[in-house]
Symmetry: C3
Subunit: 305 residues, 3 copies
Amino acid sequence: MAALKHLLDFEGWRRSEVESLLETARLMEEVLERPMKKVPALKGFTIATVFFEPSTRTKTSFELAAKRMSADVVSFAVSGSSLSKGESYKDTLLTLQAMVLDAYVIRSPVAGMAHQAAGWLRGSVINAGDGRRAHPTQALLDAYTLLDELSQLEGKKIAIVGDIAHSRVARSNAELLPLLGADVWAAGPVGLLPEVLKGARLTSNLAEALSDADAVMVLRLQKERMQDGSLPSIREYISEYQITAERMNLARPGALLLHPGPMNRDLELAGTLAEGSHSRVERQVRAGEAVRMAVLYHLLVGRAA
Amino acid sequence: MAALKHLLDFEGWRRSEVESLLETARLMEEVLERPMKKVPALKGFTIATVFFEPSTRTKTSFELAAKRMSADVVSFAVSGSSLSKGESYKDTLLTLQAMVLDAYVIRSPVAGMAHQAAGWLRGSVINAGDGRRAHPTQALLDAYTLLDELSQLEGKKIAIVGDIAHSRVARSNAELLPLLGADVWAAGPVGLLPEVLKGARLTSNLAEALSDADAVMVLRLQKERMQDGSLPSIREYISEYQITAERMNLARPGALLLHPGPMNRDLELAGTLAEGSHSRVERQVRAGEAVRMAVLYHLLVGRAA
Amino acid sequence: MAALKHLLDFEGWRRSEVESLLETARLMEEVLERPMKKVPALKGFTIATVFFEPSTRTKTSFELAAKRMSADVVSFAVSGSSLSKGESYKDTLLTLQAMVLDAYVIRSPVAGMAHQAAGWLRGSVINAGDGRRAHPTQALLDAYTLLDELSQLEGKKIAIVGDIAHSRVARSNAELLPLLGADVWAAGPVGLLPEVLKGARLTSNLAEALSDADAVMVLRLQKERMQDGSLPSIREYISEYQITAERMNLARPGALLLHPGPMNRDLELAGTLAEGSHSRVERQVRAGEAVRMAVLYHLLVGRAA
């Protein structure tokens, strides 16, 4: 297997590489089940979380993953940083690099930023979300959660529902899940669908997407976006696209319900579903821990192997 | 002794349990006196500080306590977090739980939040302040500071002075100190007294509360609260309730002066008293370190014993 | 060599002390070149970064330095802290001291704050910038970067260019570099020159300062300061004082270009110079890591030696 240095998106990734990463994640989850949830695997490594957009959940997940592997972590937050003084992204990242870090977990509102950073920096770059473009560890944790119960994704139908056009979660899942054999559908109101989404079939017909689906992935709706006149009102969205218990019945019995969080209960999904038997929302977060430990391990130590 | 899982308030606590905890705190303070102020007791444990209200002092104190026991710490701050995107307290906490943490130090403006959290979470919950309700580690460090010099609290008179109605510090001390035998008085202007404070005698007569007191605990006054027409003006408060050197003379010679900090010098107390011979304000902060180490140890490791 | 407890500025420092510190920094940089960039030198020590002014770069640099020496770090940020509730600097620092910390890295907008803190606190104080007064670790990393290539500073001409009057970087360099034998010039528009700068020759004649210089240190320009009517407009500044490739030709061939960062590209210096052959900007950041490790080591462990 070729050594992977960065995780930017899944372009060029082979199925075997993804499977190997998910296999490592499974071993990492075993660590999380021990009384002593810490391993020395990354002792002496230093990892920076560089968040140009706020995100406590993803940031905390990465920091925990790093600490459980005994790495040191520094958090480079934007607020109060020199970026607000007009420093460029590049200068900020080069400054961090000069502090001799081993890996950079980068989130930014700019699509393609992680790729640029990988060109600028000597260490490993992990894309923790770049604009609408990609959020690969989210897709990996989704795949991990799905595989946990479906055993394999070959021929499985996965429906992604909501604001497809603006979602890096949708984009990364549409890239990753077909690599594992899944049949991905993406549904939402016309105004929230992109013209094309590589790896997925697009439809504004929710029933078509949900029909016999093995899993339904509901996206977070950005309320502020619904002000735009070309889009449905929140009331219309709820009436036509909210995932309810009835609509879940269109999917296979026991279909899995995923959501990247944080949820707007009673907006994109009926609040009661979040705790219901379909929901794997907490499972996803835990999978995220294991997956991020595996990613750090593969990029930093797996390289030498 | 029954194993304690959470520290929410002192309801149901037995005197022996409090004494055992304070005894452990004494051992922890010995650690703080060593050149190497660190023990491996909580190696492999991960503790989250979850502050829905800002408080650098208490947060730093808990983080230090955890690090000195070799635990890993993640800080989940509200600002920039998903809570600001409308996520509920419960969803935030369940997300953290799915990251497999061992203990949650929670501060929130909502009374009863720590109790609710203890119902939702599998790990230990430590209440670091919930609205006006409780702030148990503050009361423990106050008790520790008092016992340090008074040896025991049986029959000792402790006067709490200030904005009793809105104070979780007053409430927790009125719960804890009588359990150790103390006689607790709470004094303040009528508009800042609650109708009842379990464990304490209420009075608007400051002299009555201070008379022959073994210790005076001055509360922080929230200036913004004094705008309310039913309350005294700041000038009136100072004239009638500020703790001055003269008023300290009403207490026993050598009476101890406590304040939970941060102080408004020359408002609730004469500024010079803060550094005077009565003051134990710095002693309290150091006691807080030892007490918080003991609490983490009892809840996480003491359980197994 | 006398044991050093604090690093406030270079008053009273002997050349041999500075050289010894820079020698330790060289050993620390070797650590940064190893696969395992971590040493146990400060295990069990706890260091607080106390930033009353935002500065992600310097703060991160100190935190990394401490972690690489295996120290524990707590960050006491101002935002949301009790200082915003009106607590004084002194009370804030005494509170931290009561938590039994070993060293305090302090930045504040108040000139002289680090000296005051050294009087209040029992631990070591490291000045990370106090108003316009001093920023000694910046000067040390500048000296380290210069010595790296110039071997020694005896008789070397160093030109500092920009807003000299408001710069703690200029002030600390003018104090340190002459101690090592350098000839320091400080140039800028009359409105941005102080009346006197101990250790440096002041001039508004940029060419005079640059002529045959071995190194040019460009300061960051605070745009907001240029609104003042007595100062040149930004356009005038650029035209007369911006460091360009042509102006660098006034200095010696191969002269070094330094900047404390973050840079305003195309304001105080031509953007292309930042990546050009003269630039040592990234080298400075890396030197900062090594120098800060050395400072922490000298103050905390060197004392016993």
